[in-house]
Structure formats: C-alpha cells, structure tokens
Symmetry: C2
Subunit: 410 residues, 2 copies
C-alpha cells in the first residue's frame, strides 16, 4: 500500500507551482523581488507545505527556508529559490523547490525508502541584494558586515531595513551541520534551447560555468550638443559604442565553443538629449567553464581598451568586479541523474554545463552537488514568457525523485 504514497503526483506538482505563480503574478509570470510582499508570502506558503509533509520548517535570519526531517538515516538536501527577477518567469526557482518538496513527501513517508530528503529555499539567488546571499550564508560565507552593506539594486533599500520590515531581523541564520547531508541536488529550467531543440527531457549538469564581470569606464568631456564642433568632441558614449562593437567583432576568434559575453547595462553621464556625455560606463560579463579561455579573453578585452585609450579621444579603464571559478558537479550525482533519466525519461538526457549560476555552485564548495535541467520553451528565461511544457515538468519531477532515491540508497 506504500506504493500509492511512493509515487510522484504530477498534478500535485503542477498545482503547487501554479499556487506559487498566483502569489505575485505578472502576466503569465511573476514579480517577486527578494523580501517583497509576494516573496515573503511564498516563503510562508512553503513553510506550511513543509510542515504538512512532516518536516520541521523554519525561515532563518536571511530568508532561507529549511525543512528538516527527524527520519533516521542518510539525508539528502534538495531545493532552489522562490524570489524572481523583476517581472520574470514562474519556474525559475520554484521548480526546484517544489520538486524537492515532492521528493520529501514521496520518499520520507515511504517505509521502504532509505533516509530522507530535506528541503531548502535559498534566499536572493537572483541577486537583488548581493550574490547568492542565502546559500553562501548557509555554507558560512557571509559576514554580518556584508549584510550591513547590502542594498537592493533597484530601490537602494538596505538589507537590514528590508529584514526588519519583513520581521526577520535578529533571527539566527541557519548554518550547515557538517556531515548531515550526503549532498545537494537541485533542479532548474535550462534557460536555453539545447534540450528543446534536441527533443530531450533532462539535462545532466556537468559543471556550472564561472562568471567574470567587468566595469568599463569611459572618460571624455561633457559639453553642449549644439555648440561643440564634431572635430573637438570627446564623446564618452560614442567611445563606449565603438568598444562594444569591437569586442563583438574580435571575441569570436579567441572564445571557446560555449563562451558567452554580454553588455547588460550602459549608462551615459549625464544622459540628457542636448549634452555630449562626458562619462559612460558599461557592465560586461564573460562566462565559460574553462579558466584558460577566460584568461585569454580578459587579455584581449584589456588590450582593446588600452588601444582605444591610446587612440583617444576618450580614455577607457577596465576593472574586474567579479571572478567566478567554475563548479564541477559530483560524478556520482551525474550518474544517479543519468540512471533516473533512463528509468523515467526513456534516456532522453544530455550531459551539459550550466551557463547560468545556481546555488548548487555554492553548496558544491562544502558537499557533493548535482543539478538537473528540464527544457525551456524557446530557450526563454528571465522574462515573464518563460515556460516549460507540463509533461516536461512532470517528467522532471519523476527523474529528480528517482535520483534522490538512488543517491539515498547508494
């Protein structure tokens, strides 16, 4: 009779995901910045579901939700995050949390299953206040001083004020208990079109690429857009546009097959229609899982900037503001996901690196970690149109729960 209980309930998984979508809904997606009202409502929603599943649930002093089990034996940690980018998709984060919840429901109640799944929702994976603050706090990587300094990137509100407003100020922050877990497993949408275009159901993540981020600052001369002749201008915005194009023309020859680079933000100062920009800034990012490739690209970036400065009329400086080492996913976790894919998804899986950062890369610094992907329709992500076919969502849940069983039994 344990058989009914021990099966993934696909309609329950979809209902839970839709319940989370209804909290902070925006078009067909959600708007749930970290510590917003809908984000907090989602955390409380999860805590209640965890309690119903027989886990002890707590929301800690940095907004992590942890569901722990008293079932004896080996324990596997699984989860993802519940906040979203602004006006973004419904599955980025909640998918992995609901899968973990379903795994706990199915496995922890099954007397024939070894051990238990514990559930985590890591706060602020989307980086509204910082970089992986929730999971880094759990592994011991966040100081009180970092929290003191953290501010919402949109509103400028301090993290301390936000924690106070949502009632989390003064609560202790949960810390990983060494040796408690055999590892960490996270499911996520792919956020790319590799699986969909290959007709595949599951991505077995081999590594999470590192992110190197740079601030490029251009200095020219602010002046009047009507009275300053073209010949004497030092237009920092134009210098920025030229370097942007040059990077895009020159990077492909040096990049690896999976390297990506992005200019996500451009600011002209002062940014008025009748003023020649005297200063300009761009945020530039490179991702690859090969640090050798990154080193070559950074060298090229610096030499393009130096050439532009030397040519004039504006000067360019390059500052590296983020250095990301790639995180390798544990081979036994990759094997477990592959076996589960063979059993539950007809083997329609592919080993692939993750181009996006995930909390799994933080957990991987202290325990074995693994990740699986489900397809993203059209590869769309970080946008409210982000979506995955219901059948793919259910298959992903079945693979994740089966992988959990295998890891706990091994």
């Amino acid at each position: 009779m344990a058989d009914n209980l021990s099966r993934v309930d696909g309609s329950r998984v979809l209902a839970d995901l839709n319940a989370l979508r209804a909290i902070g809904a925006y078009k067909t997606g959600v708007h749930k910045p970290t510590f917003s009202e809908p984000h907090m409502r989602s955390l409380h929603w999860l805590a209640q579901r965890l309690a119903e599943a027989g886990l002890a649930a707590e929301i800690d002093g940095i907004g992590n939700v942890l569901g722990t089990s008293t079932k004896p034996g080996r324990k596997l940690l699984a989860g993802s995050h519940l906040e979203s980018q602004n006006y973004a998709g419904w599955l980025d984060g909640p998918l992995g949390v609901v899968y973990a919840l379903e795994a706990a429901r199915v496995i922890n109640a099954d007397p024939n299953a070894t051990g238990a799944v514990e559930v985590a929702s890591w706060c602020d994976e989307e980086g509204h206040f910082g970089s992986f603050l929730g999971s880094r706090s759990y592994v011991g990587g966040v100081t009180e001083a970092e929290i003191d300094a953290a501010r919402d990137r949109s509103s400028g509100k301090t993290m301390r004020d936000a924690l106070r407003e949502v009632g989390l100020a003064g609560r202790p922050r949960a810390r990983c208990e060494p040796g408690r877990h055999i590892g960490y497993l996270e499911a996520h949408i792919e956020q790319g079109e590799t699986l969909e275009s290959g007709g595949l159901a599951i991505g077995i993540v081999t590594s999470i690429v590192g992110i190197w981020q740079y601030r490029l600052s251009f200095t020219g001369e602010q002046n009047h857009a009507g009275t300053t002749r073209m010949a004497v201008r030092r237009d920092a915005g134009l210098a920025l546009a030229r370097l942007c194009v040059e990077i895009d023309d020159r990077f492909p020859a040096v990049a690896g097959p999976r390297t990506v680079w992005t200019t996500g933000r451009i600011t002209l100062d002062p940014g008025a229609p009748s003023i020649i920009p005297g200063a300009a800034e761009m945020l530039f990012q490179i991702r690859d899982d090969d640090p050798g490739v990154i080193a070559r690209l950074e060298q090229l970036l610096r030499s393009l900037a130096a050439d532009a400065s030397a040519r004039g009329p504006c000067s360019v400086s390059v500052e590296r503001i983020r250095t990301g080492a790639p995180a390798i996913m544990d081979p036994s976790f990759q094997e477990a996901i592959a076996a589960a894919s063979a059993a539950c998804a007809g083997g329609r899986s592919l080993r692939m690196p993750s181009g996006a950062g995930h909390d799994a890369q933080i957990l991987a610094t202290i325990m074995p970690a693994g990740m699986l992907f489900v397809p993203s329709i059209g590869g769309i992500s970080h946008h409210w149109t982000e979506n995955t076919e219901d059948t793919d969502i259910v298959t992903g849940a079945e693979v994740l729960v089966d992988a959990c069983r295998r890891l706990l039994a091994s």
Copy 2:
C-alpha cells in the same frame, strides 16, 4: 551729470552675477532646476532689482519675470533665463538677464537716451518641464492642456503641482502686447570655443540652428546572459551600439561644415548585468541651420536603420520627436551689435550661427530679434566648470548696452 549714470558699471554687473551664483551654488556653478527653491529665490531677487531700477516687475503664471517701463517712446525687450541645467554653470542664462537689467538701469534713467529697455527672464529655457515654455507662453504658443501634461523630466512631478507649490497657480500668464517692442535682444555665453580660439570678444549671431530629435527603438529578445548561445542571441543593446558607430562613420560625408549630431541618452531594457537586453532606445539629435542638410541626414539615418532591421537580428524604428526650423536673426539687429562691437570691443567680433537653442528663436517668430555671444573658457558649457573671463563679461555688457541704445535711437 547724466554721464555717470549713463555708463555701464562693470563691477555692478559682476556683483549681480555673483549674487545669482550664490543662490543655489554648486562648486563654482549652480544647481537651479526650474521651480526649485533657488530658482524661485533668483526670480524674486530679480523682481526686487527691477523695482529698484524703476521698472514694474511681475512674476507671471508660468514663472516668467517681466520688468516693464512707463518711460514714453520706443521700447526694446531684452533678457534670457535664470534656471539652470542640473549641476551646471553660473552664466548660462543669468548673463543675459543681468545685461538686460544693466541696460534698463543705464538707458531708462538717461534723459538723453531715446526710449526704454524692458527686461524678461523666461522660465524653463533649459527644458526641465518642456520646450521653451516661458517664451512660448509669452508669444501665445502654450495651451493650458500643454501645461496640464508637462512633467519634470527628472522627478516626474507635474508642472501644475510645481506651480502650486511655488505659489504661481492661478496667476495670469503675461502675453506680448502687439507693437509694444521694436524687437528682442539677448546676450549669452557662446558655449563653444570659436570666440576664445580666435581671440574675439563678441559673436554676432546670424541664425539659431534648428534641432531635429529622434527616438531610435531597437527590439530584440530578452534572455539569460549565461544560457543563451551567441549564435541565437538578438541583443538589442549591441544592435544599438552598431548603429551608433555606423552613424558616426557615415554622417560626415553628408553633413554640412557646421552640422553636429549627438546620442545623448541610451537605455537598455532591463539593464541588468546577467540579462541580454531585449529592447534598447537612444535619443539622437541633429542640428544645422540648413534644412536641406537636415533632410539629407534624416534620409541617411532612416536608410541605415532600415538596413540594420533588414540584416537583423534586431529591428530598429526611427521616430522624429522634435522638428526645429532655424531662426534668422534680424539684419538690423546684427548691424547694431556689429557697430557696438566696433565702438566698445575694438571690432573683435565674428558673425556666427548659434548651435544652441535660445529664447530669441521663439521671440523671433513675432518680432525682430538679435543675439550676441561672449566667449566661453575652453568652450565648456552645461557643466559646473563653465566660465568666462571677467573682462569679457564686462565688455559684453558694454556692447549689449550700446547696441540697445543704437536700436532704440534708430
């Protein structure tokens, strides 16, 4: 004995300009956005100086200050503006107002001088709420509906709220009395380096160039900066940078000798470091006093945008959002300034178009108008370091007052 009274007092002119600089001082410049506290204090300061000079002073329902004279005979209107760009220079605007005040003091009190100078400070020449709202209101070009819709471009505050807060709501707006003035004369800093580099004291403005402004909108596909391969990206920011560079490469062959073009503002949507911009926008401006040149450049702009759209991967649309006809300065006003320059500045003058827009172009639609420039150190303008040598300021005042005399006597 009228001789003492009838001379320009250079130290009084400099003291007045420094008094205005002290109101809303920012470094060596000022920060006086329209209807800010320091802007309003400057208007009241002027009203008091006008009254002391024997003029009837009023601040009207749109923030114009008008000083009118009961002296019989011909009347010449002179002035400029008192608000500033944000964190900008101390002379852009106040110079022309203080010169006009000095002209009224010297000429109106001189029994040997024909007629009188009346003084105007036009509100919002710098366009915080709209385009030349004060002078356009005076010539009858601003409807109540336009004021209803106007908002501060920085804060978003409505003009109605701002007028209410500074106590101007409900006041009538002053309108030009047909036939009252023989014309309008305005002095301004050059805002370029032509006079300084030529060792000249006075620019005799021949025309004020038209400003054509465009909004270029780029549509791509918003996506994740880590998971989306370079080959399938539709990066709207990169498409914008490419067009920016192409414009700058292709415009010189079609432009006239004095044409200028500027990309003053760039916005990437959503503007986050890890998101490929799905949309981007640039504000682009062209200025010339030859509408034929503008027409050719607009055609080139539209064809570059169409080619970029056709090439893909992003689409580009071009919308003209401002159409400016050049304004010709009255030949008899140009002659009067030239004669005054010969008398007061050793003839160190040059006829030149104005690349910047000024209230004189609005007044020119209903009466003869003229403008003179004084040198800008280093050509710097719209920045707090903007400055002019004291000797050049005083020479400019002498030339303006002498030109007023000549115009009133002619």
